[in-house]
């Protein structure tokens, strides 16, 4: 049974969004990990090796794209699925995220929590 509990790392500087996502995924049966900036997120990812990462772009200390580039340098980090959460609609950022090997791209102001849960589950082959 414990084998099926998936570990999700949520990296998001907006506390409200972070808490909402954590609560929801917790309720959905995930083991949730939280980080408020890229630096802390990267450290946690390396130690905890989550099954999937939800990542914000605009954050203090280390932004999401920089963190992602760092993460992809690790052998383990190359394969972990990452979902970008952002309200940036700049094409350049999207292109950059795609190049960095991002699995999915979501625009924050339009997504609903249920959609995020659904996409994460799909990506992990849970549904």
């Amino acid at each position: 049974m414990t084998k099926n509990i998936k570990k999700i790392l949520i990296i998001e500087d907006e506390e409200a969004v972070l808490k909402v996502l954590a609560t929801k995924f917790d309720h959905e049966g995930f083991q949730t990990l939280e980080a408020k900036d890229g630096e802390a997120g990267l450290a946690q990812a390396r130690v905890e090796r989550p099954d999937i990462i939800l990542l914000d772009i605009v954050m203090p200390k280390m932004d999401g794209l920089t963190m992602l580039k760092e993460l992809r340098k690790d052998p383990w980090g190359k394969k972990v699925p990452v979902v970008i959460l952002t309200n940036l609609s700049d094409d350049k950022d999207i292109a950059e995220a795609m190049v960095s090997g991002v699995y999915d791209f979501l625009v924050k102001s339009s997504w609903e929590i249920e959609d995020v849960v659904k996409r994460v589950k799909e990506r992990l082959g849970m549904i």
């Binding site: 409200a16 969004v17 909402v20 609560t23 203090p60 929590i113």
Partner: protein, 600 residues
């Protein structure tokens, strides 16, 4: 019950967002208006410039023509036409030097032979060559003959002959000659009259010449000092005018000789100078380029034809003019504005998004049953909406400052008490951050002053809040008040009182500040570089300041607003800093102003 709370919260959030949206749209309208104004002014400038360019071209033409023939020819024509009233002669003639030719005009009062004319011509050419000390070719002579007809049978040679040099602005431009078939003429008396007439005419022309030269040099000076690069060419695309700014565009500030090819080569692939000049001259059209990157600067290049307005050659194209307008700074400002707007959008959208997502989640049964989570979420909504409200207030304050609608509500207040209350308010936060507060007030420091206490509190909150945010644990924050006297240097006054104070740069001229109270907040943080110091009080300038806790900056408008508040009180606000040691943020409030208001 909780559903109601959620609805109210959502309403608050929506209202906040609408306020911001209104502000944003209004601001954008202003921006548009400003841009429109700038365009109109730009067009006006360009128009004025092409007018000046045209004048310059005309004067150049005129100057050259007056120097050689045009007016002199006319004037000499008039002189020769009326000379017969004073002097007797068979022929009156003049020779004028032009760059490519020699004008020779001869008017016959009585018939002579061709031989006679040739002799006069030969003698004049010799005399003129001697005068200008230059060899002159007879083949370059352009001859005009008028008056009586030639009769080859009249074989009388030149028996009387007299030359008068034509001098304009101290330069020999030609020669005037009278000749006769009779001998023994042209004695002293007649010659004096002739001298006088010619001299007067020459003086008149010299004066006119000088006027033209002065005007030309005035215009030249103006073109030289223009910040826009100006290049003017003639019809054959030879350079007539290149000002220092234009040399700078292609990095040729030092090179003496410069040709159109220097411009063509340096701009190849970026801007087709020759093609555009041709197009502009041929189509008689003003052309304005898109932005062109030359070196590390952005330019807008304006190409226009230069046309004559002189009655005789009206509308004739004299050449073309190129104007290089450096738009690098405008582009930078535009970029800053865009960055600022997108940052604001992000900073406002994030908490609003958080509130939206929480309210959605709170509709779920399982959350409502979990009392602790429920409380946490309500608190987050409160925190996020407060943050948004703060930001919207900041934006509205700045908007008010910008349109000059910042109204102060002054009333007598104990400023010392006001400051001490603020210190008390921040004390718990300082303790939490392991920071020590020290306060000091000089004995002269006033108690009751007339100020807008809400606004001054806002300034104090900003300075104290910043000092807490940017100082590492274990640091000290000094809050100090003293009096500054006109003519004294604040840096030295602070030093004398043994105040913890980082010297403020001399360029801010701290001596010419009238008698004032000075409040300073000095931290033991990492300090702020000279470059960043200047950005602190600018609306669109944001630099990546890392706060102690890594928390968000908000609008970053706090100091911009503080500056507005202090300046509305006729005071000054500024900063002194030393790398790795700390910074002093100070503001002054003029005492005379405070007392004056007190007496009212």
């Amino acid at each position: 019950m909780s559903q109601n709370i959620i609805i109210i919260l959502i309403l608050i959030a929506t209202a906040l967002f609408l306020t911001w949206l209104l502000f944003y749209i209004r601001n954008n309208k202003q921006l548009q208006k400003k841009l429109n104004q700038a365009t109109v002014e730009n067009e006006k400038q360009q128009e004025a410039m092409s007018r000046k360019m045209y004048q310059l071209a005309i004067l150049k033409e005129l100057g050259e023509r007056i120097g050689y023939s045009l007016n002199i020819e006319k004037i000499i024509d008039i002189i020769t036409g009326s000379l017969s009233q004073f002097i007797e002669y068979s022929a009156v003639s003049y020779m004028l030097l032009e760059p490519e030719r020699i004008i020779f005009k001869i008017h016959l009062e009585q018939s002579v032979s061709r031989e006679f004319i040739d002799e006069v011509k030969e003698r004049m050419l010799k005399a003129l060559a001697a005068l200008v000390n230059k060899e002159l070719e007879a083949s370059n002579i352009n001859e005009t003959l008028s008056g009586a007809i030639l009769i080859e049978e009249i074989s009388t040679p030149v028996l009387s002959y007299f030359n008068i040099p034509l001098v304009i602005s101290d330069k020999v431009v030609g020669i005037l000659t009278v000749a006769h078939t009779k001998a023994g003429l042209y004695q002293e008396e007649e010659m004096t009259i002739l001298y006088k007439i010619v001299k007067q005419a020459a003086q008149a022309v010299s004066q006119l010449h000088q006027v033209v030269e002065t005007e030309q040099s005035k215009l030249n000076a103006m073109v030289e000092s223009m910040t826009e690069g100006v290049v003017m060419t003639d019809k054959a695309y030879r350079l007539l005018v290149v000002n220092p700014a234009a040399r700078k565009v292609i990095g040729y500030s030092q090179k003496k000789e410069i040709s159109i090819f220097d411009f063509i080569d340096n701009l190849s692939g970026k801007f087709d100078i020759r093609g555009k000049l041709e197009e502009s001259v041929k189509l008689d059209k003003l052309l304005i380029s898109e932005e062109v990157l030359i070196g590390d600067q952005f330019y807008k290049i304006i190409v226009a034809p230069v046309k004559s307005d002189l009655p005789l050659i009206k509308g004739e194209i004299l050449g073309g003019v190129l104007v290089f307008q450096n738009i690098t700074q405008e582009k930078e400002i535009e970029k800053m504005r865009e960055d600022f707007t997108s940052m604001m959008v992000h900073e406002l959208r994030s908490p609003l998004d958080g509130i939206k997502k929480i309210s959605k989640l709170l509709q779920e049964e399982y959350i409502r049953k979990d009392k602790k989570s429920y409380q946490e979420f309500i608190q987050l909504i409160y925190k996020d909406s407060s943050k948004m409200l703060e930001m919207v207030n900041d934006l509205l304050d700045v908007a008010k400052l910008e349109v000059g609608k910042f109204v102060l509500n002054k009333a007598p207040v104990d400023i010392r008490q006001l400051i001490e209350e603020r210190i008390k308010f921040y004390q718990p936060l300082a303790q939490e951050a392991e920071l020590a507060f020290n306060s000091f007030f000089d004995q002269n420091f006033p108690t009751e002053v007339s100020i807008d206490s809400t606004r001054i509190t806002q300034v104090l909150n900003n300075l104290l809040g910043n000092s807490l945010k940017f100082t590492e644990a274990g640091g000290t924050i000094n809050i100090q008040g003293f009096i500054h006297r006109l003519g004294q240097n604040i840096n030295e006054e602070a030093k004398k009182l043994n105040i913890k104070w980082f010297s403020v740069a001399e360029k801010y001229n701290l001596i010419n500040i009238e008698d004032s109270l000075v409040m300073a907040v000095t931290d033991s943080g990492i300090g702020i570089t000279e470059k960043n110091q200047q950005m602190l009080f600018n609306k669109f300038m944001q630099f990546p300041a890392s706060t102690r806790s890594g928390e968000k900056k908000g609008t970053g408008l706090g100091l911009v607003i503080a500056k507005g508040i202090i300046e509305a009180h006729h005071g000054k606000i500024g900063i002194g800093s030393q790398a790795e040691k700390g910074s002093t943020f100070y503001f002054s409030l003029p005492l005379t102003d405070l007392i004056k208001i007190n007496n009212k």
